[in-house]
């Protein structure tokens, strides 16, 4: 990749190959820092069911309200994404939405999202994207709906079967020329939240903008993300789930596995491969192949979480 600012650990060719493999439904697990292809989806899921553990879904960037040529009907593609989540062989215990639920923070857009996502009947844990906090009250619309049990600007944590989940918010107090921002108050909360947790507690952190630098020129990173990652050093299994970039990027660094999800609304260009970070128009019959959902399986006794990306078609 042209961006010399960060060694993502995967070349562009490698990333494209990963994306192609993920699109065909191959199941990857990561062990000892090396991604391994296990087996075709279906057989692996049977094995996962046999062991104790659970699966959860990640969707992202639904952008309800966007209606330009790149996708004139984001409600429809979100409906398809939810149908796919619900129909998965490994039934998800709950869902995570990594933000940009709406396109313009309008009540009607949030209402539509609640209705479409609600049809899944799953518990859903949200974090806001920058498109979700542009109401006149700078994020009150999001907080009123999704931030009931959250702190500060919407961060929170919860546990599920021994795995500790942390929702972080990195779309406030953005500085000129900067990228995503967590801020000192949230970092202090995170340090406190992690205090006393044993190193063997699997941690899943989710936030909208990638916590590591995917591409600084397009603002695809978090200025103080490293501070959060430093707090997570020492945990044996850390999985970071993000959105914002509308494409799959994965890397593994020691005990930390990073994954960004596809959007359910429209694709964006690969870093440096398009004039800007904005929507990419693909032929209508190809659109669903570049949108998708992700399924993450935790198997007790293994450090690595298995992340499977599936396109809408």
């Amino acid at each position: 990749m042209a961006n010399g600012q960060d060694d993502s650990g995967v070349s562009r060719r490698g990333a494209l190959e990963c994306m192609a493999w993920a699109g065909t439904g191959l199941l990857w697990t990561v062990a000892g820092g090396v991604p391994k292809v296990n087996q075709i989806l279906g057989v692996a899921s049977a094995n996962a069911q046999a062991a104790t553990g659970f699966t959860f879904a990640q969707i992202s960037d639904s952008h309800l309200g966007f209606d330009k040529p790149a996708n004139p009907n984001t409600n429809a593609t979100l409906e398809e994404a939810i149908a796919k989540v619900v129909a998965a062989k490994d039934k998800p215990a709950f869902m995570i939405h990594t933000g940009d639920i709406s396109h313009l923070s309008k009540p009607g857009q949030f209402d539509d999202a609640d209705k479409i996502i609600g049809a899944s009947r799953l518990d859903v844990h949200y974090v806001p994207g920058e498109h979700d906090v542009i109401d006149e009250d700078n994020g009150k619309a999001y907080m009123d709906r999704y931030g009931k049990n959250a702190k500060g600007k919407g961060w929170y944590a919860f546990d599920h079967q021994g795995v500790h989940f942390i929702g972080l918010v990195n779309v406030f107090d953005l500085k000129a020329g900067g990228m995503g921002n967590l801020g000192p108050e949230q970092l202090a909360w995170l340090a406190d939240d992690l205090k006393g947790k044993s190193a063997s507690t699997p941690i899943v952190v989710f936030a909208h903008i990638p916590l590591w630098t995917v591409y600084a020129d397009w603002g695809w990173g978090t200025d103080d993300g490293v501070k959060a990652l430093d707090l997570l050093k020492g945990f044996g299994s850390v999985t970071v789930l993000n959105g914002h970039i509308h494409q799959i990027f994965q890397k593994v660094e020691g005990n930390v596995a990073f994954h960004t999800a596809r959007s359910t609304a429209f694709p964006q260009g690969a870093p440096g491969q398009a004039p800007s970070a904005g929507p990419i128009l693909v032929p209508a019959d190809k659109l669903r192949s570049v949108l998708g959902v992700a399924s993450i399986t935790v198997t007790q006794g293994t450090h690595a979480l298995a992340i499977t990306d599936a396109p809408l078609a």
């Binding site: 330009k68 396109h103 542009i134 953005l174 020329g177 603002g219 004039p275 904005g278």
Partner: protein, 115 residues
């Protein structure tokens, strides 16, 4: 018409003419309106030099919303601008005004106000 009436009318038109003449002497040069377009996550042009009293109009022709935020807090801040939305601000004072997009802060520009 009576002489008094004519004198009054004449006096009125004289003072009107006088006022108009004064006004045209005192009026500043017509303030300009300069457009900055937003396209492909970029402000075009990224830097503009204007005179005090000029208006800058930001016009979003991108297919994604953007917002205009002054780097110095509190000087100007637009609502989110969807495609074809505009935001304008009159720059009365000299100075350099850096600004960025509130949603995508890596997008930056500046307005230079000089006499």
């Amino acid at each position: 018409m009576t002489t008094a009436f004519r004198r009054a009318a004449f006096a009125r038109s004289l003072s009107l003419a006088f006022a108009l003449a004064l006004a045209s002497l005192a009026a500043p040069a017509r303030a300009a309106e300069i457009t900055v377009k937003i396209d492909n996550f970029t402000f075009v042009p990224a830097s503009v030099t204007i005179k005090p009293g000029d208006t800058v109009v930001w016009e979003n022709v991108d297919d994604i919303p953007h917002s205009i935020v002054s780097k110095t807090p509190g000087v100007f801040r637009s609502k989110p601008l969807d495609t074809n939305d505009k935001f304008s601000f009159v720059f009365a004072q000299e100075g350099t005004y850096d600004f960025f997009c509130g949603l995508h802060p890596h997008m930056q520009g500046k307005i230079v106000v000089a006499p």
